[in-house]
């Protein structure tokens, strides 16, 4: 039973995890993108559509990432070049993503695809208990797990990471070293959109093999919340996403045990966990919020 929950945590948490890694990059550079939900939807539809047309889920993955990137480009342009309020813009992008994908997605609802299927890793998948939890997933899930240490390394151990973080904390440093902070932020937002798009692809092409309008259903918003919960650290964001996935799997497992817990209560669990996360953040002594995020919220950005 616990193994089932842990397996479910990875299965249903991966799309959220990919999106939260992307959002993390964007926020490290000082831009909050509430449009992550929209990027995931565009990624899901783009990935699904290209998989239908080409029959190749890898092409679909690339296309989905690009679709997610394109919609985040709108966000980046409005916020960085036009000076629009990032929260308002992000929300608009989110609803724009819902509308535009519902419109273009109509013809794809009943389409069937040959998407990604779980690929057990030889030998490792045979390890009792752990094998089933960790080594029997679709290729995108494996890649998403590999992405996390890579991101951690880039952000905290490379010059690129310093530039990224400087864009979010002290843009004077970047000016001093002749780097345009706006460019860094643009690239960070686009990376975020790309990864959120891949998260959408994972949901549509690998996990459900389906496209339905608004199928992301709030996962993108949860992803943004997770970044804050994770205090902008990739590994913590991964844990948070799997926690969210585990909460979803847990409520399903609990129901099947016939325990007398109201399903309405269980539906709340993933969100309650987020609320608890809020409390934890509030109690932390020293804030790790990238400074530019606060600046923009205060109205000067």
């Amino acid at each position: 039973m616990i193994a089932d929950i842990l397996t479910g945590a990875i299965r249903s948490g991966t799309s959220v995890m990919l999106a939260s890694q992307g959002e993390l990059v964007s926020e490290r550079a000082g831009v909050i993108n509430l449009g992550t939900e929209g990027s995931m939807l565009c990624g899901a539809l783009g990935g699904f559509a290209v998989t239908v047309w080409s029959g190749n889920p890898w092409l679909g993955t690339l296309a989905g990432g690009i679709c997610g990137l394109l919609i985040s480009l709108i966000h980046a342009f409005l916020v960085l070049s036009c000076g629009a309020n990032q929260l308002a813009t992000g929300l608009t992008i989110m609803f724009f993503g819902m509308g535009v994908t519902a419109f273009f997605g109509k013809g794809f609802v009943s389409q069937q695809i040959v998407g990604f299927n779980p690929v057990p890793i030889p030998l490792l998948a045979d390890i009792p208990y752990l094998g089933k939890i960790l080594f029997n997933h679709d290729p995108l899930t494996y890649l998403s797990i590999l992405l996390v240490p890579v991101l951690w390394y880039v952000i905290f151990r490379t010059r690129l990471g310093v530039i990224l973080r400087a864009a979010g904390e002290r843009e004077d440093v970047l000016f001093a070293s002749g780097i345009n902070p706006k460019l860094v932020r643009y690239l960070a937002v686009l990376t975020g959109g790309f990864l959120a798009g891949i998260g959408g692809v994972q949901l549509a092409v690998a996990y459900t093999h389906s496209w339905v309008e608004n199928m992301v259903a709030g996962r993108g918003v949860v992803a943004v919340a997770l970044v804050i919960f994770a205090s902008w650290k990739p590994i913590k964001a991964m844990i948070g996403a799997y926690l969210f996935g585990a909460a979803q799997a847990l409520q399903l497992t609990v129901q099947q045990q016939g325990m007398a817990i109201s399903p309405y209560f269980l539906f709340m669990v993933p969100y309650v966990l987020t609320l608890v996360a809020l409390l934890i953040v509030e109690r932390r002594k020293q804030s790790q919020t990238p400074e530019a995020l606060g600046k923009v919220l205060a109205g000067s950005g």
Partner: protein, 398 residues
């Protein structure tokens, strides 16, 4: 700005952000639940409020168009597809009439706007096909006594608004019989949205069907909280499969994800709302479907002839298996012939009135007798079911 103050502002910032996100995520996940196709209760009060004007106006006649509004897309292998197919039959039966369709119409004031638009385009008969379209339809009906409304599944009516639905639990029972015969483990999985009476009625009918042929069969119920969230459906399906279910069924608005997930896992599926056998050539058993075509055509005819008042459709019409308004889906190619024969026999008995799925004594989960021996339930009593029968594993909120 000194450091302390900055830290404080930043803390506030992240807190505010999280709160905002929480609100947004609740709104978004709320938006994702398209419809409630069923009756949420059986309190039946006819709301006839425009008695004054409707004496001389005959609703439904002299129309140039027929309007259909759907809460989702027409090809979702579900509730909306079934209603859409009905509208196609109307189109074929009345080539002179324009059939106006609007998909993805939310259950809000937007539905009123869509209906007003259809009336402007000449529609005198409108089918609002989702449960939540009822209130908007009642509002529009009050403003247009000359327009006739046929609402799907509602429990309120007006002088120019009748509701229709079907006793879908009959084929659900028969599908349960098939499931009980086919399942080897006797562990059946049922994926549903929220515990409303129509859903509970279907779970109970399915379980009673399965246990009529396999008394040890159990139905594991999983509530997803949504009518169509493929991600949650996949979670639910995988979770049930991990727990040993070898047959899945569902009461959701869309079913592609569940049927395909079951097929990939090599287990069986019983469908709901529409025929999805093509999605699961190996695992498809059968399912329950709406067959609105003939009914819609007849309802349009009655309306256009000015015969709505006094007809069976003025009020709450419930079509049955015998009326062919609800039906059992085609059997999958892998279903053994003796199972098909047996289910067909049961169907004949049901049609002949020899078999009543809800004949007592029927016990609930805790063993209390809910339907006594010899007691016959009315449709209203059935549609207000608030318990789960013996053999169902799952909880409804008290």
């Amino acid at each position: 700005m000194n450091t302390k103050k900055r830290v404080k502002i930043q803390k506030k910032t992240s807190g505010m952000l999280l709160l905002l996100l929480l609100v947004v995520s609740i709104v978004v996940s709320g938006c994702s639940q398209p419809s409630n196709p069923a009756n949420t209760g059986a309190s039946s009060n006819s709301a006839s409020s425009n008695a004054g004007t409707s004496e001389e106006v005959v609703p439904g006649v002299d129309g140039k168009a027929i309007g259909f509004i759907f809460v989702g897309t027409k090809d979702d292998y579900g509730y909306n597809q079934a209603a859409y197919l009905g509208s196609v039959r109307v189109e074929e039966a009345y080539p002179d009439l324009k059939v106006l369709r609007a998909e993805n119409v939310p259950e809000s004031a937007e539905a009123e706007r869509v209906m007003e638009q259809m009336i402007q385009e000449g529609a005198k008969i409108i089918f609002p096909t989702s449960y939540g379209h009822l209130e908007p339809a009642l509002n529009v009906a009050k403003r247009h006594p000359d327009v006739l409304f046929y609402h799907q599944g509602g429990l309120k009516t007006a002088d120019n608004l009748g509701t229709y639905f079907g006793t879908i639990w009959e084929p659900v029972y028969l599908a349960g019989v098939a499931a009980g015969k086919i399942s080897e483990s006797g562990k059946l999985g049922f994926i549903v949205s929220v515990p409303i009476p129509q859903v509970l009625l279907n779970i109970n009918a399915f379980t009673l069907g399965a246990r009529s042929v396999n008394p040890d069969a159990t139905t594991n119920v999983v509530f997803t909280g949504s009518w169509c969230d493929p991600g949650q459906q996949a979670n639910a399906a995988n979770s049930l499969i991990d727990a040993g279910a070898d047959l899945l069924t569902l009461h959701q608005d869309c079913m592609k994800t569940v049927v395909e997930t079951a097929e990939r896992s090599g287990i069986k599926t019983v469908g709901y709302h529409a025929d999805a056998s093509e999605l699961a050539p190996q695992g498809w058993v059968t399912g329950s479907e709406w067959n609105w075509g003939d009914l819609f055509v007849d309802m349009v005819k009655v309306g256009m002839d000015g015969q709505f008042k006094g007809s069976q459709y003025a009020g709450k019409y419930r079509g049955t298996l015998a009326d062919d308004v609800v039906k059992l889906s085609t059997f999958g190619s892998q279903v053994p012939a003796d199972v098909v024969t047996f289910v067909e026999e049961q169907k004949a008995a049901l049609l002949a009135g020899e078999l009543n799925p809800f004949a007592g004594p029927i016990h609930d989960q805790s063993g209390n007798v809910r339907i006594a021996k010899g007691q016959l339930l009315t449709v209203e009593e059935l549609e207000s079911m608030d318990y789960l029968v013996e053999g169902v594993i799952g909880t409804i909120p008290q």
